[in-house]
Amino acid sequence: MTRRPVLILATLLAGCAQVTERVVLLPGPDGGTGALSVGTDRGETVLAAPYAMVEIKAGKPSAATSNAEQVRDRYGALLDAQPPQPRSFVLYFHFDRIDLTTDSEPVLARIKEALAAMPAAEVLIVGHTDTMGSEARNDRLALRRAEVVRAALIAVGIPPSAISVSGRGERDLAVETADGMPEPRNRRAEIKIR
């Protein structure tokens, strides 16, 4: 049930005598291809193979197939202008603390590197805890974990306005456990950058 991102190219060729619109389905970043329905007032076509396309000629849709070279020639500059792919990271914390585990230190360094390469980067940080302790206490701890990551990113020059933080306490466990269970994989902050 993995759904892959669907890549679409659409061209609207005003003034062109023949083809006035074209849509091409591209293979996704992970190599898979999604599927796309193309509806017009003359019916619906489903594109499901890489480089399958529909062209509108004299108002009529016709199905055809493009290829990687053709797409590169026609739309290379467009594809190069795409924003970078958003990325997700997880940082882990010591029990009942807001300092990172040793393993997570290099991950934090990678987040900083990735952010430095992203134009107009936005960061979403969500703190979590395991089920030890009360819910109220864990809500506070989760938020403090998110805030400590935020501070580390502000320290390397990410504007505070680009960072949003929240704490989910023990309400969003990575690993389901009974209440009152220590679980290192739940003591975490999830960081999304885009």
Partner: protein, 154 residues
């Protein structure tokens, strides 16, 4: 008495609304301009705003690129919309709940060249993601479907 009735009706109506519409975050930007070349403007409420990297994109915004322009926009659900030179696109509808990935997206590709990489709404509910061109309506289909290609109708 009449006023009280009306209030009750409103409360019921908003309850129904909440039940049928997936909860979305309070209205905020749909996305942000990330990459940009040449001249790019955002038309919002009759105003023309020159865009730059970091410019928020709202529902209802018309984004235009000039002869030398291109723009890459990342929406809050990670959808990436890129427009080449001499292009116009309109963000017609965008709702997104980051906790559930529920939402909907409709963008109108009015003129030019575009590339789209779908995001989390398309993953969660592909039927809620659509793009319109002057003659086509593009809808996302999940990869797990068996596909029946009808070809040209008529």
């Amino acid at each position: 008495m009449r006023i009280r009735f009306r209030l009750l009706f409103l409360a019921l109506a908003s309850g129904l609304w909440a039940a049928h519409v997936p909860a979305a975050e309070p209205a905020g930007p749909a996305g942000m301009v990330k990459t940009l070349q040449g001249s790019v403007t955002v038309e919002r409420a009759g105003q023309r705003i020159p865009a730059s990297a970091g410019t928020p994109v709202l529902v209802g915004d018309r984004v235009r690129t000039g002869h030398d322009g291109s723009v890459g926009i990342t929406l809050r659900d990670d959808t990436r919309l890129t427009a080449g030179p001499d292009s116009t696109l309109l963000i017609t509808e965008f709702r997104y709940n980051p906790n559930t990935s529920e939402g909907s997206l409709l963008a109108s590709l009015l003129k030019g060249t575009f590339s789209v990489i779908t995001g989390l709404i398309a993953k969660r509910s592909p039927e809620n993601v659509n793009f319109r061109t002057p003659t086509m309506t593009l809808g996302i289909r999940g990869t797990e479907f068996v596909v029946d290609v009808k070809g040209e109708a008529d």
